[in-house]
Symmetry: C2
Subunit: 345 residues, 2 copies
DNA sequence: CCTTTTATAGAAAAGGTTTTCTATTTTAAA
DNA sequence: TTTAAAATAGAAAACCTTTTCTATAAAAGG
């Protein structure tokens, strides 16, 4: 049998109430009795049962974190940021992996609600669940923060990186190096890729560079090892065609890694003959030769920010009405994969 | 106010007991009443409170997972394996990151106990906490499984990969390719590196190859991006010295990636002039050119195995006495970083 | 038709805390 | 001293379920 507060009370010859008071330190108790109680606690190796606690306090010091995939490199960084902030506040994290299935996402939310979490942060929420109003409804039930899943008009708390700014920055950098014939590499279906592509075409137009359709490279999948080889092959094909680009903007670092491998395969020198810029700054960007120049998403900060935001929402249950939207800046990380354009179109 | 089972009972005009019964489906209830109750549940969007449930059932369907670092690439794979198995059994995971601090490891265990988890799996437990008897004592309190932290004589449940076998396999492969002058690259202080080094020297002796001290390469740290550059520099230095090795065994894939970069830097061809074999088969082993030949630790299976083991321990609370030890096989993954030795010593 | 089973439903206890309210003791004020 | 106030401690209700035990109604057996 587990030892309970009652056992401690008996051992210390006081009431349950008193034990609870020394435990929570929220009511005066005579020094001598406190000593007795503490001794009893130590002797019996007592740990309070947080189920009972949570039941009555209506606070579990527990939050749920929902991620599309644990093995994605991007997400663990964010989770670490969340855990860092939450851990300091005595919170423990429930971790839920959705395998990128909207169905699982909803199911996990259900389980978290059952478990009476004080809040939920959803990293990379599924568009489907945002658009259907699922999260908007959920916001009314439990403190909720959505990370990198902003949809305009949707009434949720959001935190996101300013991908627009990041893309702008990357493109400006490439142009400053004299590149005009720039390729764009993306995956399908993901919202953030849409944003980036839009910016890309806009910038090209503004610079009076005709957007060649063959410079928009699209691979089916975007966020795993397989992406590397798909990107590689895609880039090889482009580089072998007419009028090859002198630089490429990749929607993430997996793709950029593939691009590097492509160049290597063709004997094209990076960055002398071909500049490559990535996005995200996940750890693999430091593995390649040359190391990748990329746009830093500061995922750790994203996590921290999400945690802080969530904490605010949890505390300030009164000011229900006000939803928050936090936007994080990106940062250009110059490493060795970009250089001055070797030729001009 | 959250809706409770009582609200449902009122709405359906039945007793709490009956609602509980349709919820748990563990007692006959007339079809017509069941319908009524189900309708009420749906109407009120009722979710049972698992704190109250757990309190009385003494079962929370919750387990704790303790990892040294969330961002380590190795651990998320294991966690995924655990989540995969546990998720199917209606469990939810508490995730705890220890930042490789024994102190945090203990603290997290405390929090998990408070939260009445049904079990705990500790991935890469700190030696200090194993040796001090902390985990051995904990085993008597709560179902516990230690992953990759075997210490002989310690009475805990273990699951681990057979690193000995893996090392043997790697070395045999290198020798079969005709390599005799083989370097060994490791980090400091970690138990599994000790095991591998021991095997390495033993095999060398058995093959009548004098172990050259300059072929034992040791870098300070072992499991992060920094490792790559440290390894690179270390390997460059060795390759520039007298009598350079024709192959290298690296204790993990980070190190092996560094070795590849080193070779590239010196213009040494991999695998033609220099064979490199890694260990673990984490995702980065598929990023390099050439792709890394390595020893697969099947981390996902490690996680699944840990979960299954934990489930056994949780269920079979009666057979307390019997502790379990599971050993997983490794597998040689042949990719493109190893070839026949170009010269013999 | 009466008695015994069987099917179905409810009342109340239990689980381990926190918290409100009440009671006692001690101290301060008069 | 006596009385009022302050300090300290306990009893019991509350949190939301599950489960045991009891009660009723319907069906079956005689």
């Amino acid at each position: 049998m587990k030892t309970t507060i009652e056992d401690v009370a008996k051992e210390a010859q006081v009431s349950i109430t008193t034990v609870s008071r020394v435990l929570n330190n929220n009511y005066p108790v005579k020094e001598s009795t406190r000593k007795k109680v503490e001794k009893a606690i130590a002797k019996l190796n007592f740990t309070p049962n947080s189920l009972a606690r949570g039941l009555i306090r209506k606070r579990t010091y527990t939050v749920g974190v929902i991620v599309p995939s644990m093995t994605n490199l991007f997400f663990p960084e964010v989770v670490k940021g969340i855990e860092d902030c939450m851990g300091q506040n005595e919170y423990t994290l429930f971790l839920c992996d959705t395998k990128s299935e909207p169905e699982y996402e909803r199911r996990h939310v259900g389980r978290l609600k059952e478990r009476q979490v004080d809040g939920i942060v959803v990293i990379g929420p599924m568009s489907e669940n945002i658009r259907s109003g699922f999260f908007e409804a959920l916001t009314k039930e439990v403190p909720l923060v959505l990370v990198n899943g902003y949809h305009r008009g949707v009434r949720c708390n959001f935190i996101l990186t300013d991908e627009e700014m990041g893309t702008l920055e990357a493109l400006a950098y490439l142009q400053a190096l004299g590149h005009r014939n720039i390729a764009f590499l993306r995956g399908e279906q993901i919202y953030s890729y849409d944003v980036k592509e839009e910016i890309f075409t806009r910038i090209m137009k503004q610079s009076n560079i005709p957007v060649m359709q063959e410079n928009i490279l699209v691979i089916p999948e975007g966020n795993s090892v397989e992406t590397v080889d798909m990107s590689r092959d895609m880039v090889i094909r482009r580089l072998e065609k007419e009028n090859p680009p002198t630089a490429i903007f990749c929607c993430n670092d997996w793709m950029a890694t593939g691009a590097i491998n492509a160049a290597k395969h063709l004997g094209v020198r990076v960055p002398e003959d071909f500049s490559i810029i990535g996005f995200d700054n996940i750890v693999i960007s430091q593995l390649s030769e040359p190391k990748l120049t990329t746009i830093d998403q500061t995922m750790f900060k994203l996590g921290q920010g999400a945690a802080e935001l969530l904490l605010e929402v949890i505390e300030g249950k009164k000011g229900e009405g006000s939803l928050k939207k936090v936007i994080l800046e990106t940062k250009l990380v110059k490493r060795n994969s970009c250089a001055v354009a070797s030729r001009t179109v």
